[in-house]
Amino acid sequence: MSNMAIAQRKLRQGFTFPSRGRILIYLCALVIVCWSVGPFLWQMSTSLQPDRELLSSTPRLIPYPITIEHFVNIFAAKSFHRYIINSVIVTITTTFLCLLFGSIAAYALARLDIRGRFRVLGFILGVSMFPQIAIVGPLYVLGSNFGWLDTYRVLIVIYLALGLPLVTWVLFGYFRSIPQTIDEAARIDGARPLTIFFRIILPMSLPAVVTTGLLCFIAAWNEFMFALAFTSDINHQTVPVGIANFTGLHYVPWGDIAAASVVVTLPLVIMVLVFQQHIISGLTGGAVKE
């Protein structure tokens, strides 16, 4: 039955009370939404409440009175902007390099004549399953030999290698879906592979590239262990390390922590919600195809 026919029938019947199954589904949906966004909403609410409200015996869900003291505090007293600047530098550089190297590799694997392309792809993917704890020690030894500790470049190089498998994999899938005739036409016109890539394939794949870049950005922005191991001063530590180090002398500054969480998470959440359709297909594509 077409949607039209269903709609017409519904109109004839007038309003019908949803069936028990429908109600159950809406109830489940409501629970899922509350469970997913509830903790973060509580964090936002916490960031706007003065300490004495947070420590009172009955918590207030809606902040009243509203205060911005925690936001002032994290920047004025804790120089939180230093961490943000460090994170932005590391993350943007990583994302750019990841996209550059990863997209060229994905292009070569997807559309050029490479013997054993699936073996190469499998190798790249296999590496992404390495437990990171297995490389942090040796990399630390190497890093200190090079004098690279407490630098941006050590984090960028590591995040680059950690992000490349995902970028290559997702873009490989996308590039494969572009008809091969486009390359052939361009090649007949005398274009070289790199020209074809930068002038034709890449612009055609912009949505996929933006999504992959976002995934890469989030991964680098959120990474904690390497940042913790390789940086020890505020001039190079990233946001996760900064937040992890937020502890008071006598009590835990929950309000400040909540404010910092909101500052670094809200932009991510907004970006994710804007690009959600692309992110879901980018993330789930690899597991379901095959």
Partner: protein, 312 residues
């Protein structure tokens, strides 16, 4: 074989192709930056770690001697290691099972058509996007022993008589970590499974309705068998990821109280960067690496068997 070789030689001898070859780097050059950085940051360090694990070496002192499997023997008789091993296994099993089951349930709900489905899917990306460190702090506050809202809510409905120190007590700390991980990762699991469900052709649903199958039979005999490969792949990735959990534990409890939440990653990290035992820590890391391979192989075998059954 010989003929194709001659043919390919003949092709390269054509003048147009020679020019192409001279100007063009081979396609493999395009892979170089990627392979080089992966080699430098993943392959080489793993090999170096293997080498370091056979040595008695620390970051603080200049001693560095080859001791063969000495570190490994020491680990096997180290009660701290087995303590962390048990916690890691408990965490991996519990979180993988819970996340797969809950994820499947959520995916089944979302595979139905209903108004506002897009909003639900969008909301589910929020836990995934939040940095794990923030998640840890967030759950630290939710489950705080004095002013946590979880204590307040449970007290209000009468489930607990007085506040429970969720994170500070050895009995509940690991459970709290599991809950935090389930919160953060289940939505992603659900989205993976949902994508898998959506590849099942709608005609199969119609066919089973015509054959008189009820919703449960449709799920159990039609959708579940077809979803099994996706289910196995997703839970394999989840198990591999859960096995190396670090951020949540390190930030939420630091392995405490009284080592009640110490897992292999945090133990290894402490050996490497607090005790500065590079050799011993590398041996621990190598054991973790080998365990991950074993987990992947077990899932791989299951997956292959299932795929053969389904006939894909």
């Amino acid at each position: 074989m010989a003929i194709t070789e001659v043919q390919s030689h003949a092709r390269t001898l054509k003048p147009r192709n020679i020019r192409f070859k001279l100007w063009q780097p081979g396609p493999f050059v395009f892979l170089l930056p990627t392979l080089a950085s992966i080699g430098a940051v993943a392959i080489y360090p793993v090999l170096l770690g293997l080498w370091l694990s056979l040595r008695d070496t620390t970051l603080a002192s200049p001693t560095d001697t080859f001791i063969g499997l000495g570190n490994y023997l020491q680990i096997v008789s180290d009660s701290q290691f087995w303590n962390a091993w048990i916690h890691t296994m408990q965490f991996t099993t519990a979180s993988t099972l819970l996340e797969t089951l809950l994820g499947l349930m959520i995916a089944l709900v979302l595979s139905e058509q209903f108004r506002g489905r897009g909003i639900v899917r969008a909301a589910m990306l929020v836990p995934w996007a939040i940095p794990t460190v923030v998640t840890s702090k967030m759950f630290g506050w939710l489950f705080d022993g004095q002013n946590g809202i979880v204590n307040y809510l449970l007290r209000s409905v009468g489930l607990i008589p007085h506040n429970v120190d969720w994170i500070g007590s050895p009995d509940f700390a690991l459970m709290t970590i599991i809950i935090a991980d389930v919160w953060k990762t289940t939505p992603f699991m659900a989205l993976l499974l949902l994508a898998g469900l959506q590849t099942i052709p709608g005609t199969l649903a119609e066919a089973s309705v015509i054959d008189g199958a009820n919703a449960w039979q449709h799920f159990w005999y039609v959708r579940l068998p077809l979803l099994t490969p996706t289910l196995l792949i997703a839970s394999m990735f989840r198990a591999l990821d859960a096995f190396r959990i670090f951020d949540l534990v390190y930030v939420l409890t630091g392995g405490g109280p009284a080592d009640a939440t110490e897992v292999l990653s945090t133990l290894t990290y402490k050996q490497l960067f607090s005790a500065l035992q590079v050799g011993y820590g590398s041996a621990l890391a190598t054991i973790m690496f080998i365990t991950e391979i074993v987990i992947a192989v077990i899932f791989g075998v299951f997956l292959l068997r299932k795929m053969r059954e389904v006939g894909q």
